[in-house]
Point group: C2
Chain length 234, copies 2
């Protein structure tokens, strides 16, 4: 099964035209013809069946029938992570966390962040691609780059954790979360959170957690967290 | 802390010369001087303290003192995985699985494998780099590319699992493994294992396991498995 995505689809849609790039893919790579079916999602939990009624190398028109609504998870799996200096490392975190079913990602700007700017459109395209690839119907929410202080003071649902690398009494994340409950996990930049950031987070009811015995890179810590949240909810 | 690696070190070593590239790194990037200390490992569990007694831009001589032996894990965490068509995806699996403390990796050649050749030297360099980065003293064992049939008939310690994508009665891997026990997990190529390969594995006492509800790419399945094995042993 291959899945297409467009946020403009809604359950009232009866027809739809794929964009130029997708039309070319359907025509040249998938070699679809008039009457062939394709599956689409709006990233909001809805699956649509499309039937091709016109196709050329740069335009594919579809008759659309709403097929099924997949309810959202009744909890949030939320990772707030400092974008890495090397952009490709952050991008693979986005891809893998999406494949593993994370529901929300907030890029955060910390004191030690070497990367201070992100390309949100590009990040969204990577997330959409991973959502389609892993056959999911809900696009994870991607927030704008948010300062650490703004983030920890924002309204967050469920339990809140900070995975810092400083010594101290920390339980493993897997022992601190439970199935079906919302959780937010903070992952720091290459140089870790500062002692002041850690103190601020603890004062805002974030609990310190460990992500295992080895030292993980930022993006590895992010993917490991996504796997942990996935495992507990399976 | 920064860690250097050389497989030729042993507990009798009293002096050592870093290679050209490492010497340049120590001189130019770390800006070390005579008398400064660096840490080294042989990848077999031993940590050495080196003291610089001569340094130029392309040669760094060290006095070596054996410092500490870290015992190996008393169990094997072993992933056998079909190398991906895109080499960078396999390479990041190697990096992340090493960071997460896997002990052995076997690249396997399956019926649907699109990649039939690998560069073992390059794979080893990636594993060594990840071992140093994550401050571990044991280099994961990397086997040569092995056919699926040879692999499933080989002598493997502990429980054996196959993470195929076919429907059927499968428990999640996390429920099938237990702390401190050896486990081997088979991860298939982009087109999955064939029904015959699955049958052969089951006949050789591999148990089918699930890696969660979403469809994971080969390399994501590998990293997810590494995270699962890490979590259960924490």
């Amino acid at each position: 099964m291959q899945l297409f995505y467009n946020s403009q689809l809604d359950t009232e849609s009866t027809s739809f035209t794929l964009d130029r790039e997708e039309s070319r893919h359907v025509f040249k790579v998938l070699r679809k013809k008039i009457g062939d079916k394709i599956n689409l999602t709006d990233g909001k939990g809805n699956l649509y069946h499309g039937t091709i009624n016109h196709i050329t190398s740069n335009r594919c028109d579809l008759d659309i029938a709403f097929a099924e609504a997949y309810p959202p998870l009744p909890y949030q799996l939320h990772i707030a992570i400092a974008p890495t200096k090397m952009n490709d490392r952050m991008e693979w975190f986005l891809e893998k966390a999406t494949e593993m079913g994370i529901t929300r990602i907030t890029p955060i700007l910390c004191k030690h962040s070497e990367r201070q700017k992100i390309n949100l459109d590009r990040f969204n395209r990577i997330i959409i691609s991973a959502m389609k690839q892993s056959l999911q119907f809900h696009k994870p929410k991607l927030d704008e780059l948010t300062t650490f202080e703004d983030f920890i003071n924002s309204d967050l649902s469920g339990s809140k954790f900070i995975a810092h690398c400083e010594d101290g009494d920390k339980n493993h994340l897997i022992n601190m979360i439970s199935k079906g409950n919302s959780a937010t996990v903070l992952i720091g930049p290459e140089g870790d959170f500062t002692p002041l950031e850690i103190e601020l987070a603890l004062n805002n009811n974030f609990k310190p957690v460990s992500l295992g015995a080895t030292r993980l890179r930022t993006e590895t810590a992010g993917v490991y967290t996504a796997a942990t949240l996935n495992i507990i909810n399976n």
